[in-house]
């Protein structure tokens, strides 16, 4: 069970008071460096919310109130910095804890955590003593602070149980992110448990079972094993690459709409993000998002993917969605109107802000950017001109940035049919089969009377896809599919056979599509794609595909 550095008050000579204050400030500087490192590591390994815990600690560390009080104690009590810091920290924590507000009471923990970090540095007693027990163990304590938990070695620490604290505290957030079973706020815990006891920590139920009998323990162990097995099975399936039986690999990626979607996508086996929709930043608000807000979101996703690529789509909205902060005209036919990249070129200030954020984020992560609703090469030429201007401006201001790999969505038939011209200007395309189907078949899939016409497996759509893939291969570039068709396991054989590089879909669809790809040979897929292309109707295509699974 862990202890705290015991801090004794020592009286010091008048002449060394200023030196003691200098020693306090040196420790504050060391603490700042430790917290910055912890924050950066949390950002890399856990996430933005966990990193924010340490950002908050940094602000508190520098809080004039805390520093001032510690200095005052050194001067007025003529005592050592450790004691002064501990006293100041405890006082302020007590003041916060006295306020009848849950949020503020939780901040008292942060103050104590930060203060004890400085005390540890001053007294030379390391906190790391906690992080490595000599055999796998459950840590039981009155209180564990967030930064204690952040240091834990997960291979040796099986779980934690705390007498104090709450499930919404920073300690709980960290434990959860680290997958560490934890029970917090268990009064009487320390009286009931002795070192060496056998414990079961059931985090889900918030229970700590002390010294269960053999039968009960066996049941718990069986439960734990069953859970581990289920998790491993799911992991194994989703972690496998999507390669055909004869070794042709296809990237399988996720479509996401929010940064929070990344984690479940990775858990489901996504090898990257093939479509990061950015509309969440722009909708349901009174003013457009700032460059900083956008930069934070794009960087966060890139970081969470740890090197796997993310294809970010610039703002894709049109007349069907009215934004209070954008002057939009009423259109008779918004789906054939000012939307997607056209809208962005029209309202360039908004577009430039998004591009600035994207170029800055691209310096820090594996980011590709694509533009939606492209119908004419002149649009791409104009976009490239704007991108270069934005890049020059950032360079002139000395802001780190990079022009990312650029591509277009192929969803308008003109772009599909003349894709060769576009491939001179961009490095990749992603086929948006939803809109491509609607524009090609001239049918609205939300209109019940014609919805059945808008079938993405119609030979017309398949032939357009085939044409795009062929042109992409000739140009030596990359083609993905991000429409709903990519997530349909029935369609996987055709798309694979047509030769696309990547299929991107909602996370929940990934395991099945991977299984579909793994179940056939590329040779068969190619034959199937040829047959499908020469069918006369979508119905015939579906019959052909039915025979595959039969």
């Amino acid at each position: 069970m862990p202890g705290r550095p015991s801090v004794e008050k020592r009286v010091i000579a008048e002449e060394v008071v200023e030196a003691e204050i200098a020693r306090l400030h040196a420790a504050l500087q060391d603490a700042r460096e430790e917290l910055e490192a912890l924050r950066d590591r949390a950002e890399r390994e856990l996430g933005a919310e966990e990193a924010a815990i340490f950002s908050a600690h940094l602000l508190m560390l520098e809080d004039p109130e805390l520093v001032h009080r510690a200095e005052q104690y050194i001067r007025t009590e003529r005592c050592n910095a450790e004691w002064a810091q501990k006293r100041a920290g405890e006082e302020i924590a007590a003041e916060l804890a006295a306020i009848p507000d849950d949020y503020l009471r939780a901040r008292a923990d942060d103050v104590r955590d930060v203060s004890m970090r400085v005390v540890s540095l001053l007294s030379g007693v390391p906190r790391a003593a906690l992080s490595k027990p000599d055999q796998p163990a459950i840590i039981v304590a009155d209180e564990l602070l967030a930064s204690d938990i952040a240091h834990f070695d997960r291979s040796m620490i099986l779980g934690i149980a705390m007498q104090t604290g709450s499930p919404t505290s920073h300690a709980a957030i960290l434990a959860r992110s680290m997958g560490l079973p934890a029970v917090l706020g268990a009064p009487g815990l320390l009286d009931a448990v002795r070192t060496g006891d056998v414990l079961v920590v059931n985090g889900d139920a918030g229970e700590v079972i002390i010294n269960p009998d053999a039968a009960e323990l066996a049941t718990w162990e069986e439960q734990r094993r069953a859970r581990d097995r289920r998790r491993q099975e799911l992991q194994a399936l989703s972690a496998l690459p999507a390669a055909t039986t004869d070794g042709h690999a296809v990237e399988v990626a996720a479509n996401i709409g929010f940064p929070a979607d990344v984690e479940p996508a990775l858990a489901a086996g996504a090898e990257g993000v093939g479509l990061f929709r950015t509309e969440f930043l722009f909708l349901d608000r009174a003013a457009p998002p700032s460059e900083e807000e956008q930069f934070a979101a794009y960087s966060q996703v890139a970081r969470a993917l740890a090197g796997r690529k993310v294809i970010i789509r610039t703002l894709d909205i049109g007349g069907d969605k009215h934004l209070p902060w954008l002057a939009q005209e009423n259109e008779a036919n918004p789906f054939l109107g000012l939307r997607g990249a056209r809208l962005c070129l029209w309202h360039q200030e908004v577009f430039r802000t998004q591009l600035r954020a994207l170029l800055r984020a691209s310096a820090e992560g594996n980011i590709w950017v694509m533009f939606p609703m492209i119908s004419d090469v002149k649009e791409v030429l104009e976009i490239r001109r704007v991108v270069n201007e934005v890049s020059d401006q950032l360079a002139a201001a000395g802001v780190p940035h990079r022009v990312p790999t650029l591509g277009i969505m192929v969803e308008v038939p003109s772009a599909a049919l003349t894709v060769e011209a576009f491939l001179d200007e961009v490095d990749f395309v992603s086929i948006g089969t939803n809109d491509l189907t609607q524009y090609t078949l001239a049918a609205d899939r939300t209109n019940a009377s014609v919805a059945s016409l808008a079938d993405p497996l119609h030979p017309a759509v398949l032939r357009l896809i085939a044409h795009v893939v062929e042109a992409v291969r000739q140009a030596g570039k990359w083609v993905g599919v991000c429409g709903d068709l990519a997530g349909d396991p029935v369609a996987a054989p055709v798309l694979v056979g047509l030769g696309v590089d990547e299929l991107s879909m909602a996370a929940s669809l990934i395991p099945e599509v991977k299984a579909a790809v793994r179940s056939l040979s590329f040779a068969d897929a190619r034959r199937l794609a040829l047959r499908a292309k020469s069918c006369r109707t979508a119905g015939e295509v579906r019959e052909v595909l039915q025979q595959v699974t039969a």
């Binding site: 950002s55 302020i92 949020y103 103050v111 807000e293 802000t353």
Partner: protein, 89 residues
């Protein structure tokens, strides 16, 4: 000395991220920056003091700047509050 009344319009009151944004902004100015709320006046450069006010969303506070560049500082902080204490690019 200049002062202005502003409304806290962040969705979470003067807590968490918005409080941090305020403190970081206040630190940049040469003049002093104080906040008054329900009879209490605190230093806007101290996160602990700002948090201890416990200002709820929708409430008003008084911003007070005093010293070099106090007018510009006040204007910048008022604009920040009007932007919901969200940083602009």
């Amino acid at each position: 000395m200049r002062e202005a009344r502003v409304t806290v319009n962040t969705g979470v009151g003067l807590h968490a991220r918005p409080a941090a944004v305020l403190v970081q902004a206040a630190k940049k100015f040469a003049c002093s920056v104080m906040i008054e709320y329900e009879g209490q006046t605190v230093d806007a450069r101290s996160i602990l003091q700002v948090l201890s006010l416990g200002v709820k969303d929708g409430r008003q506070i008084t911003l007070r700047t005093d010293g070099e560049g106090e007018a510009e500082a006040l204007a910048a902080l008022v604009a920040l509050f009007e932007n919901g204490l969200v940083l602009d690019g």
